[in-house]
Symmetry: C2
Subunit: 152 residues, 2 copies
DNA sequence: ATCATAATTGAAAATTTTTCTGTTTGTATT
DNA sequence: AATACAAACAGAAAAATTTTCAATTATGAT
């Protein structure tokens, strides 16, 4: 699907605030309400828009401790990799998991209540997954920037 | 603000899909539409809900190259830190920036079109910020998990 | 028990989304 | 240039949802 300038502007607005009404959007884009409506429907149908979510402030729900964990596997057989990825994806403390290049195999973003909860997580959940070789954790001191909006 | 079990369930549902109607939610929560409405408004007012956003599939907008960049500053004077953080926050390629513990000072999540765009970004944008000592980049081979929903 | 406060409900009003019909616009073809 | 076709657009009506309102029920403190 080819995105024209209006689609891009529209996506930009929606990425920043999905609660804007079609009327608001139609004003900003100099279009009719229906035109906006149909463009959005098309973007949804084509999968450009994947979902609409509510963002929760972690400070308000006692999940202020954020850590990034590097993980190395002992082996890289298909079996081990598949199993590891499935188990990690099931951990609610892991919001993100990436297979990456470099010294380690994976990078995880973990969010828990505090250092104590993190220790608990490491001991009882993460390192109890088999085939993990080594880990290296980095703690977030301050979140300088965090957006979900891609520049289109 | 104290969150009861209903609030938590509600936040869980909204984090996964903010387009659910109050009627749908009222069914799942065994409440009236207005009760759901009032609870949501309160969560917004108290700042538990920070915003509603649209998520765009990066593959559909030609931003499939994701990298994590470690950055070390040459000095850590207040001035340098403030300036660096401000400049980094202004870069549209940088979706996330964290001040972290460990060997490096910062961890950045960068999203661009391809390796060429990444090189361009490194040379012309990132490393042109003053006071950067060294960088170390890791490239995302595969995104195993990526959610915005915190387990509450 | 009584009071005050907060949460909940159902109905009405206001707003928004969605559908529908017809028009315009752009593009390709002759 | 004229024609045909499809895609995008516009305005109005219908459907659905959000928001307001008044009244009721629960909750906690005195």
């Amino acid at each position: 699907m080819i995105l024209d300038a209006i689609d891009k502007k529209l996506l930009d607005l929606l990425q920043k605030d999905s609660k804007r009404t079609n009327k608001e959007l139609s004003n900003k884009l100099n279009l009719s309400v229906t035109a906006v409506y149909e463009r959005i429907k098309k973007l949804e149908k084509e999968g450009v828009i994947s979902k609409y979510v509510t963002l929760v402030k972690k400070e308000k729900v006692e999940k202020t401790f954020v850590a990034f964990c590097h993980i190395k596997l002992v082996q890289h057989t298909q079996d081990y990799v598949i199993k590891f990825e499935k188990e990690v994806a099931n951990l609610v403390e892991v919001l993100e998991c990436y297979h990456i290049s470099g010294d380690y195999d994976y990078l995880l973003k973990v969010i828990v209540k505090d250092m104590d909860a993190f220790r608990e997580f490491m001991v009882n959940k993460l390192t109890s997954i088999n085939h993990i070789g080594s880990t290296h954790s980095m703690f977030v001191i301050n979140e300088v920037k965090h957006t979900t909006a891609i520049n289109i």
